[in-house]
């Protein structure tokens, strides 16, 4: 039930960000979701793409430092406090969220949010127990 995320170290944010996305575009890799975390010196670009191995390969060929991380895609109901309720459940179970970001595309009326947990397996179990819908990788990559 995990989703693979690709992270890229970006030193010079404006130029290299454009380059990284261009490298992926040229290789025919589609970006499904992304988030950029940055500091004054560097940034980390996190991506969910449709072709993980190809993406990692072409980025490495262009001298980007890349890593793969397991994240969880959660379907969040389209109602007030939809996300807040989920976060509360996780908090109650002692699961820490490192960061999260949203998918551009929606699933029907619902939003899809990517969660990075310190303890992925524990988080998946908690979400399941609470009846919260987790999306498998294959359905996310081609959303």
């Amino acid at each position: 039930m995990k989703v693979q995320q690709i992270s890229i170290f970006i030193e010079n944010i404006p130029g290299r960000l454009a380059e990284a996305t261009k490298v992926l575009g040229d290789a025919g890799v589609n970006i499904r979701a992304l988030s950029l975390a940055d500091t004054s010196d560097f940034g980390v670009l996190r991506l969910i793409v449709d072709k993980n191995d190809l993406a990692k390969q072409v980025l490495a060929e262009h001298d980007f430092t890349v890593s793969k991380t397991d994240v969880v895609a959660v379907e969040v109901p389209d109602r007030p406090a939809g996300l807040a309720d989920i976060l509360q459940e996780l908090d109650a179970a002692g699961i820490t969220v490192e960061y999260l970001y949203a998918f551009v595309e929606r699933l029907g009326d619902n939003a899809v949010i990517i969660f990075r947990f310190d303890n992925v397996d524990g988080a998946v179990k908690t979400l399941r127990d609470k009846g919260i819908k987790i999306l498998p990788g294959e359905s996310v990559y081609n959303l």
Partner: protein, 433 residues
């Protein structure tokens, strides 16, 4: 292997009396044939006949690289040009290069010392030596080449550059010995890895690496990545070229300097005073058999110390500790002496960090600034920001603890740091601009 057992194991007493005899002869000769030396000795109020012991050498003035430039190109030659059979020159980064000339006998001695050096590294007949030192004005390529032939090994004259071809030749020809700079050996390993070639499975056994300062931690990395024994060799064109000193494979600790041909002194680089054996300072070398261009008390700018304890390999020639930097490379940052090798040792002590770094020194509002750029490889990269910031903070803290200076640590992408195929450029000092 002892190439020249008699001389390599000469008892100290005999070695020192040979040194004195050869020193006196050299001083007499340069006094008679090189106006620069005659004037320098006269100015210091001394003549060769006053040198009765090795300690008397201290009465003779130093020779500097600048003296070679001032006497460009042939002013320091002690023989007429008809007796010179080879000319090399240093890659002077500023101004004129320094020029050295060799007589036929100089080339023979150089070949012998390089053959001894190969022997000390455990290399002999039957070995295939892949020589990736540059052939040309630089002494590295031809110096190692002649030594390899003298030794009776098969030498492949690769020179530098064209790294993919180097790897192909190394693999196809079954090279057992690699001679190049330490940074180039790592570069080759990197290029091989990029092509999915397992360089560790090559028959390569020994790397004889020199021509730039390197550290114990880089040795570990080279030995691991290439699956070889990495041996440190020392030389400089002003004195001879490669083969002035080398580690023995038995100890891999300290470089035996061939004392039947050179006299080594360690001085305080600020005062010029000779330091007692064992103390760290600048290496000063006097050549005592060279004909073409003898060097008297040449200041190498390399920082080291003499190891006087006997070595278990049986050689009686004393050892120079691995060069810890050049007094030229020494940066003075806010009044503190900083060697790039010190920063390197901090980086290498942190798990996952590779020794790919660059130091940027600048001045802002009359205050020196130091920025340490460190490449982020997959080993230290994380998808979260915090661990990367923690890593930068840790490097900064450890540098502060070691050197007492505050610096900025900037994480950069791999290969941002210029890695030439020869020497790695570690320092960019913008203060003089």
């Amino acid at each position: 292997m002892l190439w020249n057992e008699e001389f390599e194991t000469l008892p100290r007493e005999a070695l020192e009396s040979l040194q004195l005899k050869r020193l006196q002869h050299t001083l007499e000769r340069v006094y008679a044939t090189v106006p620069f030396y005659r004037q320098a000795f006269q100015k210091a109020g001394t003549t060769p006949d006053q040198i009765k012991t090795l300690a008397d050498l201290q009465r003779i003035p130093f020779t500097l690289k600048q003296d070679m430039r001032d006497n460009y190109p042939y002013g320091l030659f002690a023989v007429p040009l008809e007796r010179i059979v080879r000319i090399h020159a240093s890659s002077g980064t500023t101004g004129k290069p320094t020029v050295v000339g060799y007589t036929r006998r100089d080339i023979e001695i150089w070949s012998e010392l390089m053959a001894r050096s190969f022997g000390a590294a455990g290399v002999g007949r039957g070995d295939v030596i892949h020589n990736a030192y540059g052939y040309g004005l630089f002494t590295g390529g031809l110096g190692a080449h002649y030594g390899a032939e003298k030794l009776g090994a098969a030498v492949i004259p690769m020179s530098g550059g064209n790294s993919k071809k180097q790897i192909m030749i190394m693999q196809d020809f079954g090279s057992t010995v690699l001679t190049c700079t330490p940074s180039y050996s790592l570069y080759l390993a990197e290029i091989a890895a990029e092509q999915d070639i397992d360089i560790k499975s090559f028959p390569l056994r020994v790397g004889i690496l020199g021509a730039e300062p390197w550290s114990e931690s880089i040795r570990g990395e080279i030995e691991e990545k290439l699956n070889i024994k990495a041996i440190d060799i020392y030389g400089l064109s002003e004195i001879l070229g490669p083969g002035v000193a080398i580690e023995c494979i038995e100890e891999q600790h300290g470089l035996h300097i061939w004392e039947d041909h050179f006299i080594a002194e360690i001085i305080n680089p600020d005062t010029g005073e000779v330091l007692p054996p064992g103390e760290q300072g600048e290496l000063v070398i006097t050549t005592i058999t060279k004909e073409g261009i003898p060097m008297i008390r040449y200041r190498t700018r390399d920082i080291t110390r003499l190891i006087v304890e006997p070595c278990r390999c049986g050689r009686t020639h004393r050892r120079l500790e691995r060069m810890s930097g050049r007094s030229d490379d020494m940066l003075i940052i806010r009044g503190v002496n900083v060697f790039p090798s010190q920063i390197e040792s901090v980086l290498m002590s942190i798990e996952g960090v590779e020794p790919h770094y660059q130091l940027i020194v600048d001045r802002e509002e009359n205050l020196d600034t130091l920025e340490v750029q460190v490449e982020v490889n997959e080993g230290i990269f994380s998808d979260a920001i915090k661990p990367l910031q923690d890593l930068a903070a840790r490097i900064r803290k450890e540098i502060k603890e070691l050197l007492g200076i505050t610096c900025k640590v900037r994480l950069v992408e791999p290969k941002t740091i210029t890695r030439s195929e020869g020497k790695a450029k570690r320092v960019i000092d913008n203060r003089s601009k």
